[in-house]
């Protein structure tokens, strides 16, 4: 659905995005992660035909933004990071205005306005001025606006920012449901738990692409493996013993639990177990802890900064 090849964007002397390439399949949720200034918004703007690339190629639904910008804009929905609304007109009129630019019949348009305002619990306040809405309500209205023409591709920049937990949950469920609708979702978020739960694959970017993979691929490739040992007694009693093992990179303890960071579990785990058993330690559990996306992300960004 989206194909990006060697994409670069320069603003005068600053390179915002450098030589990035990826493919996104139909109905895939693609998490696009990176620190502030990593080039996420610039990439979204290029993909949504708002700005042109300095070099490289973009193909969206087999069309090029250079020759088919209007078509591409008709099949995408964009939720910007700071989504604004016309404050002095009603929520309904806001959606009515934006939806007028798409080639959809009046009946479908009006049905969709009703559908999304109801879906996001805004129907009862449809005639209120958008300026009177709370931040969360505006975010939901902006999301309705992005969906109003039922796009094939959704670009979501921080979709749950500013939402209360209940609304954020509703939005996440909605994003997940888009898979069934065969909508491709390009999800930019700083909420790594959200990205981890929703994305089929994630792309970590800092001007250049650092890594594109599924969460399980990232976890299995993570060089820092973690194991948790639960003792029947206080873990601090065994810390000195564990510190003698060179293969352990880091140890943390809390009550009867010790968390170890190791590089090669196939080598270090037998050594650790043998040492503990030989010393007469009472081990209750010995578990592998899968790294969270946040931990992997922070490691990758740290490594990138160290380069």
């Amino acid at each position: 659905m989206i194909k990006v090849e060697n994409l670069t964007k320069k603003f005068e002397t600053i390179t915002a995005v450098e030589n990035i390439s990826f493919d996104i399949n139909e109905s895939e949720i693609f998490g696009f992660l990176g620190p502030n200034g990593a080039g996420k918004t610039t990439t979204i703007r290029m993909l949504s035909t708002l700005i042109s690339q300095t070099s490289g190629k973009i193909t969206i639904d087999n069309r090029s933004p250079e020759s088919d910008g209007e078509y591409i804009r008709s099949i995408i929905g964009l939720l910007t990071e700071s989504p604004g609304m016309y404050e002095k007109i009603s929520a309904y009129d806001n959606l009515d205005y934006y939806s007028s630019f798409y080639s959809i019949s009046n009946t479908i348009r009006k049905n969709n306005i009703k559908k999304y305002l109801k879906m996001f619990d805004l129907w009862d306040r449809k005639d209120d001025l958008a300026g009177t809405y709370s931040k969360g309500m505006k975010q939901k209205l902006a999301l309705s606006r992005a969906l109003i023409h039922e796009p094939k591709i959704l670009f979501l920049d921080e979709p749950t920012a500013g939402l209360d937990p209940e609304s954020a949950h509703m939005v996440r469920n909605f994003i997940e449901s888009q898979k069934k609708e065969k909508t491709t979702v390009f999800l930019c978020t700083h909420n790594l738990e959200e990205a981890s739960n929703l994305s089929d694959r994630v792309c970590i970017i800092k001007r250049k692409i650092i890594r594109i993979a599924t969460l399980s691929e990232l976890q299995s490739d993570d060089k820092n493996k973690r194991v948790e040992i639960v003792f029947t007694d206080d873990a601090d009693r065994y810390i000195k013993l564990l510190e003698e093992i060179d293969e352990i990179k880091n140890i943390q303890s809390d009550k009867n639990k010790a968390t170890l960071v190791i590089e090669k579990p196939e080598i270090s785990n037998p050594i650790i177990i043998k040492k503990l058993v030989d010393s007469g330690a009472q081990v209750l559990y010995f578990n592998e802890i899968k790294a969270t996306l946040e931990e992997i992300y922070l490691d990758l960004i740290k490594d990138e900064e160290a380069k």
């Binding site: 995408i76 604004g84 007109i89 934006y98």
Partner: protein, 263 residues
């Protein structure tokens, strides 16, 4: 074209609701189309009693048979120029508000992500300033005509308006001026985040209007059809330049990367 009409329809609704735009227009109408012509025409006898005024008329027009008619004709020339303040002022009030509000509300990016063409957006926004400007200016010229004709008829038994000069000012000079001010306001608005400073463009154009009036009062020249047509031609030559600049500024990438936005 359909999309430009959608933009125009939505914008014009907001303009109609905006008192900050309507109040100055009503004040200008009341002063220049009603109060000033009534005062000058009905009080023309008193004005003529002043020796300096008679000397002025003799200096400009030579010895004339009916100084009252000449004086009223001269006053009308000034009033027509005064009324050019409206086609200059109305777009300078509307266009910056329309552009800068989009920036303030962060509504431009989602709008540009729709199939709406930037040329349609520019056309829609320009019409929002141009149409009210043309309508208001025409209404004011009509009000001025009625007020002047009724007052002059009561006073002198004849109706001096409309004249050819009136037609040129109302239907040629006024729309051209509106167009230039609209485009200039769009250009200035793209670089500004403050509505008031962008609206200042209207104030700038008022300076040459006062200059023309001042030069006439000082006796340097008297506006006639030839001068007005030359003025139209000069302004017409400026139109493609401001249009080209506005179109260049109203480019998607320019709007998102080069326009000065609210922090």
């Amino acid at each position: 074209m359909k999309n430009a009409a959608v933009v125009f329809k939505k914008e014009i609704k907001e303009v109609i609701k905006n008192k900050n735009i309507w109040m100055p227009i009503l004040i200008i109408t009341a002063i220049f189309s009603i109060a000033m012509p009534l005062v000058f025409i009905l009080g023309s006898n008193s004005i003529l009693k002043d020796e300096d005024t008679l000397n002025f008329i003799n200096k400009i027009f030579g010895q004339v048979g009916d100084p009252l008619r000449v004086l009223i004709g001269f006053i009308l020339k000034q009033l027509l120029i005064f009324l050019l303040i409206l086609p200059a002022m109305v777009p300078s009030l509307i266009a910056p508000s329309s552009v800068i509000m989009e920036k303030e509300n962060n509504t431009l990016e989602p709008l540009l992500a729709t199939p709406l063409k930037t040329s349609e957006l520019l056309l829609g926004k320009s019409l929002t300033a141009l149409v009210p400007s043309f309508v208001i200016s025409t209404i004011n010229f009509i009000i001025l005509t009625i007020v002047v004709d009724v007052a002059a008829y009561i006073k002198l038994g004849y109706a001096p308006l409309p004249t050819m000069e009136w037609v040129i000012v109302a239907f040629l000079l006024s729309p051209i001026l509106s167009f230039i001010i609209t485009m200039a306001s769009v250009i200035v608005s793209s670089k500004s985040t403050d509505i008031r400073s962008a609206q200042g463009i209207g104030a700038v154009i008022i300076v040459p209007i006062y200059l023309v009036i001042g030069l006439q009062l000082a006796g340097f020249f008297l506006l006639n059809i030839t001068y007005l047509l030359i003025g139209c031609l000069v302004l017409l030559a400026v139109c493609p330049l401001v249009l080209r600049l506005a179109v260049k500024i109203f480019d998607r990438e320019n709007i998102l990367t080069k326009w000065k936005m609210k922090a």
